[in-house]
Symmetry: C2
Subunit: 218 residues, 2 copies
């Protein structure tokens, strides 16, 4: 199945022309986003927790302390909604109400499951490290059993999903095009700065080239 | 009251030393974040919607179409959790499990209310525009009645809140400090690029200085 079927929960209602349901579009946003916001409910109390995520095939992953309330609640089988939002720009328009933002967001729905085996957890965590820092896992010491035990990993099969994307210039009304007001877009992007070496680094340890010109996953 | 009282819902359990409950800290994160993630539940189905927000005193604001399901649901008085997350950097460590991120996040809890009067809505929307583009509201044409009617504005009194902040270098174990592996931080920030003028701008309309060297709210 290459496209998710929109339901009343996932269908983009406002600006439906900005909605998309194909896996390629949804997954590209999940993969380009550095953090997600995990939504779940404890009774009638919603909670939204930010965390780093990664994806493999049709599953979304995140992790945390084995003692985490979020992971414990989700592992019990409650529904989750996980949203990834990438801000691409501010849209400056000719009237107050046509100001907007350019963005890509993906909302995915499902029921989370804890990875049970040591091997599944290790493989998933390797994917997390290597998504951000290709090849780094192999250059680190082996994980300790206590580290593996203290870490829970969630895998959520993506049951349903939608994307919403706005791009391009302001969309002003014809009757405003004569306003003597500048319109345009201020692009925004999460941008790496110059790495800051830990003062505790051993003498002679050089910064790997990957960090000197770090590029976020896309 | 200068500090929120942590409850089982808002208390930072994992890494409690990273938690903060004073208004100054929480509000500084809300004010520096460009978008928030609004969490609410439709029955047992959680939903997490990204949107732009702003704050005045002890209220968090966001807006949308008067036809929005999110706003309609929230206006009916269901509980909301709104989270603002600012990513400050990637923390590269000496072992896989000590890799981390630097971030500032704020979770605020409350029950949303729709602004009822035309005047309250207009004043709030002016604050939104002027938060991002100081002084711009006064240079735009007056809002049309149909625009005001089509827009709903939420004001949520902040009943409870917490912040969580990680900063600084990797926190590796003493027994890993001899690993011949580079540790450090790759700073990350949402950064404005060169503005892109709308090709439909009138001839002779200059880009305001504010956009040429745009600075996000802090």
């Amino acid at each position: 199945m290459d496209t998710f079927t929109p339901t009343p929960i996932s269908k983009v209602k406002r600006h439906p022309e900005r909605g998309a349901y194909d896996r390629d579009t949804v997954y590209a946003i999940l993969d380009a986003g550095l953090v997600c916001h995990v939504g779940y409910a404890l009774g009638d109390q919603p909670l939204v927790t930010p965390t780093i995520h990664w994806r493999e095939a049709d599953r979304l992953y995140w992790h945390g302390s084995a003692a985490s309330r979020m992971l414990e609640t989700l592992a019990a089988g409650v529904k989750a909604c996980v949203t990834v939002t990438i801000v691409d720009g501010l849209v400056v328009a000719r009237s107050a109400f046509t100001h907007s933002m350019n963005y890509r967001s993906a909302m995915v729905f499902g029921t989370a499951r804890l990875l049970e085996t040591r091997e599944a957890k290790l493989q998933a965590l390797q994917h997390l490290i290597d998504r951000l820092y290709p090849g780094r896992w192999a250059n680190l010491r082996a994980p300790l059993e206590k580290e593996i035990k203290a870490t829970s990993v969630i895998a959520m099969p993506i049951a349903e999903a939608s994307a919403k994307i706005r791009k391009g210039p302001p969309l002003d009304y014809d009757y405003d095009m004569g306003e003597k007001v500048w319109g345009g877009v201020i692009p925004l992007a999460l941008t790496p700065g110059a790495p800051v070496a830990d003062p505790k680094n051993l003498p002679g340890i050089a910064m790997p080239e990957m960090f000197a010109r770090y590029a976020l996953p896309r």
